[in-house]
């Protein structure tokens, strides 16, 4: 039986659809990780990634559904003008939903900054509070908007378009893996160099890093520490918002309660594992995304599903331990170097 299981796993993993699903599954994790990266660089552990993503996912769905309905007006599918207006309505709905979802997350990021920076509340408790509010608040808001508590299926929300990449889509295997994804997948990949440039190449990024490491030093040369932290948290919210919208307006066109399912926290772990560097964080996000995709695909096997479901989290834990040991060694080396 053992041999049979392994060949089954082999068959499942070495397929183009599995490779493609890694890209798909990693997208929200990567967005969350990038959001967490910017927050940590300014010295704030943004534990609210999860809640911010969840809320923006719902906001995107609700706003897109309402805008679509508003554009369509009273037109029915039977009407002659329906065809012409429908496309416009979907595009308007998707755009509005995207913007609203992202804006919502940015505002939450700023709110968290207000709590932690201005009011000096404990950042961990504030972050957890936002997560808790989001878990309950989204269900409540969903009920108000759709009359349901589980899923938003009665809302006709829109999705972001799928992109076929010319030329590449015709290459066998590679085309199947890389082409034909939702636009958010490609956008996430574009965001990696974008974050790199923001953090490492702009003066705002320099200030964010300085504030995160030694706020006194930054303040002593006239950097407005609070302002920088608010900026960083707004950026953190921005990327988190992208992640939230990609969940509910990417491959699916609905919101379901708790649909982030820990992706914010996995993103946060990826960021820590990558030591808040853009490249390291991206690699770690893909690693976790791969385990997540693996867990999805292996559910069809006779292995207990709980075991499979725990893979991404166990991988996270192992990754963090390896990272901690490495950091410790590095510190010791530095100390020895200095005591010579």
């Amino acid at each position: 039986m053992g041999e049979g299981l392994f060949s089954q796993i082999f068959d499942l993993l070495f397929t183009t659809s599995f490779a493609a699903s890694i890209l798909r599954v990693t997208t929200p994790i990567l967005f969350a990780a990038l959001g967490g990266l910017i927050a940590r660089r300014c010295g704030i552990m943004n534990l609210a990634l999860e809640g911010m993503m969840l809320t923006s996912a719902l906001t995107g769905v609700v706003v897109s559904a309402f805008v679509r309905k508003a554009v369509l007006g009273d037109l029915m599918p039977a009407d002659a003008a329906y065809e012409a207006v429908s496309g416009r309505a979907v595009a308007a709905g998707a755009a509005a939903g995207f913007l609203a979802g992202v804006l919502c997350s940015v505002l939450m990021g700023l709110f968290l900054a207000y709590m932690a920076v201005q009011l000096k509340a404990n950042i961990y408790l504030s972050g957890l509070a936002i997560n808790t509010i989001s878990t309950g608040g989204t269900v409540f808001a969903l009920y108000l908007a759709a009359g349901e508590k589980g899923m938003s299926s009665s809302l006709n929300s829109c999705t972001m378009p799928v992109i076929d990449i010319p030329i590449i889509k015709d290459i066998p295997i590679i085309g199947e893996v890389i082409s034909g994804h939702n636009i958010m997948v490609y956008f996430a990949l574009l965001c990696v160099p974008l974050v790199y440039y923001i953090v490492m190449r702009t003066s705002t990024g320099l200030r964010i890093r300085a504030v995160g490491e030694n706020p006194n030093a930054a303040e002593s040369v006239g950097v407005n520490v609070k302002k920088v932290q608010f900026q960083a948290m707004a950026l953190s919210g921005l990327f988190c918002g992208f992640g939230g919208v990609s969940l509910s307006m990417g491959y699916v066109s609905f919101f379901s309660r708790g649909m982030t399912a820990g992706k914010g926290f996995i993103g946060m772990s990826a960021m820590n594992l990558g030591n808040a560097t853009p490249i390291g964080t991206t690699i770690a996000a893909f690693l976790f995304g791969m385990f997540d995709a693996m867990a999805n695909i292996l559910q069809s096997l006779s292995v207990p599903s709980q075991f499979i479901a725990s893979i991404p989290y166990v991988a996270t834990l192992i990754g963090l331990i390896v990272f901690a040991i490495q950091t410790d060694r590095k510190t010791k080396r530095l100390k020895e170097k200095h005591s010579k």
Partner: protein, 517 residues
């Protein structure tokens, strides 16, 4: 006629708690000189410089820069007025490069992005102009302390500082780094910069500075041209007791040795030697005072004896038992009590009650426990007794310690540390920052302990205290013992000052006398 670039006229600074840090202090500095600001700990040097740099606002007095009156409300305004400061604790971001640290807050930009090459150019320009050799592209965390200091100086210069304040810059440097710094500072002076050099190391002042101003107890008590005065004369101006406090005590009758420290060497994390091969003993029934300017290794000695800090070489034994590798509880059970200089960190648990604080060193012992639970009655009896005995002013035994005054807080510490039948008491700055009543009480208790046969090691930067309370005395200077005075009442303030400031040093044979067997 030299041009006066800075005049601080009759500055008075009173802190909210009523402490007068500066009283009518006048400081006049000429363009292009290195001016030493000297004085003991707590003389008001740092406060005066904080006023100049806009960190503190004076109650009275005026500041003139180049003859024009200025108001300096914050560090940015100080920088705008050409005043730069190199703090004792560096204001640097470790993971950034030197160039990034230098331009932080005024970053050059190109096409909206940070222009790193321009930052490097700005830094290298300053490096070459002022001959401060440091690589612009190096990461600050990889640099030794001396280089970090250079980065701080470059930071100030790039921001247009004409007057550069250096707050005890040599405190963290090795002798080689110090020599290099002096060359650089003289170079800066020759280029027309003005430097305020805060220090209490007289040899350095003699070597580097042109003029000096002496502060004592918050007042300016003298100024001089460095070349015209001897180190003895500077020391005489700096050290001096205001009011002589008398402590009633009989002559000590030291018996057998309790604490034996031999060839002790302690190094900091960065590898700098803080305590350098010292040996001394404290005997039963005597108070051995440790005098010295703060930061000459005294704190590390007390932390090494009590197990808070590891040490590299040598041995520490208490009644013949080695303390190395022993837990703090084991050391305490050997009869070692510790009154730490850092009351809030090592002395008390501020949010806990008086009762919990006085039993924190003995709560686990059999006599305070009944089976699985603590013996409430016994603990309450003990704390009530100690509150009465040590005159701790508190509403009740569960009163959070942080609600008490500094003096009463220290009495809580002392009540715990003195009531455990100690064989050896390490008292580090036991009366710092507390009221006269509590001070007198604690000093009296220390003498009583001595009379009961306890060995006492008293570390204090307060000359009054160390001279009046100690039976014999060692003086620390730069990690070494500079002198051993078998009879503390035989030495004058002046002579003590000369040992403290490194002007005078005893022979190794004289110092070795303190290592009793």
């Amino acid at each position: 006629m030299p041009e006066e670039i800075l005049l601080m006229d009759k500055i008075t600074k009173v802190y909210p708690n009523g402490f007068v840090a500066n009283k009518d202090v006048t400081l006049s500095i000429n363009k292009g000189e290195i001016h030493a600001l000297v004085g003991e700990n707590g003389a008001g040097k740092s406060t005066l410089m904080k006023v100049l740099f806009g960190i503190e606002q004076p109650e009275e007095g005026k500041i003139y820069i180049k003859g024009k009156e200025v108001k300096i409300n914050n560090p940015l305004e100080a920088i705008a007025n050409g005043v730069g400061m190199v703090h004792q604790h560096f204001m640097l971001v470790p993971s950034l490069t030197v160039a990034e640290n230098v331009v932080l807050g005024m970053e050059p930009k190109k096409n909206g992005l940070f222009d790193f090459e321009e930052a490097v150019r700005i830094t290298e320009e300053a490096v070459n102009k002022y001959n401060l050799k440091v690589s612009a592209r190096a990461k600050v965390e990889d640099l030794p302390v001396g280089f970090k200091q250079k980065v701080e100086i470059i930071k100030a210069l790039v921001r247009g500082a004409e007057i550069l304040i250096l707050d005890e810059p040599t405190a963290v440097l090795t002798p080689q780094e110090t020599a290099e710094l002096f060359v650089e500072l003289k170079h800066l002076r020759d280029q027309g910069h003005t430097i305020v050099f805060i220090s209490h190391k007289l040899n350095e002042i003699k070597e580097l500075c042109d003029r000096l101003t002496v502060l004592r107890l918050g007042k300016s008590v003298g100024k001089a041209i460095v070349a015209d005065v001897t180190e003895q004369e500077i020391s005489k101006m700096m050290v001096g007791r205001d009011v002589v406090l008398k402590v009633e005590k009989t002559k000590a009758e030291p018996k057998e040795t309790v604490l034996k420290v031999r060839d002790l060497r302690i190094a900091s994390d960065t590898g700098r030697t803080i305590v350098d091969n010292i040996s001394f003993s404290v005997r039963k029934g005597e108070i051995l005072g440790v005098a010295g300017v703060e930061g000459n290794g005294q704190s590390q000695i007390s932390e090494a004896i009590t197990g808070l800090l590891g040490f590299q070489n040598g041995s520490i034994t208490v009644n013949g038992v080695d303390v190395k590798g022993k837990s703090i509880r084991r050391i305490r059970e050997m009869g070692v009590s510790h009154v730490s200089e850092d009351r809030m960190t090592y002395g008390v648990a501020a949010t806990s009650g008086v009762k919990d604080n006085v039993i924190s060193d003995r709560y686990y012992k059999k006599e305070f426990n009944k089976g699985l639970l603590m013996d409430k009655k016994k603990i309450e009896d003990l704390s009530d007794r100690l509150i009465k005995e040590f005159l701790i002013k508190c509403d009740d035994r569960d009163r959070a310690v942080k609600m008490l005054s500094g003096g009463n807080m220290q009495k809580v510490v002392v009540a715990r540390e003195f009531s455990n039948n100690p064989k050896l008491v390490i008292a580090n700055q036991p009366t710092r920052g507390i009221d006269v009543g509590a001070t007198e009480f604690i000093r009296k208790r220390l003498v009583e302990l001595r009379d009961e046969g306890t060995a006492v090691l008293l570390i204090s930067a307060d000359l009054n205290e160390v001279l009046e309370l100690s039976d014999s005395l060692i003086v620390m200077n730069e990690g070494h013992i500079a002198a051993y005075i078998p009879d503390a009442s035989s030495i004058s303030d002046m002579e003590l000052g000369e040992y403290m400031l490194g002007v005078k040093k005893q022979t190794p044979e004289e110092i070795a006398r303190v290592a009793y067997d």
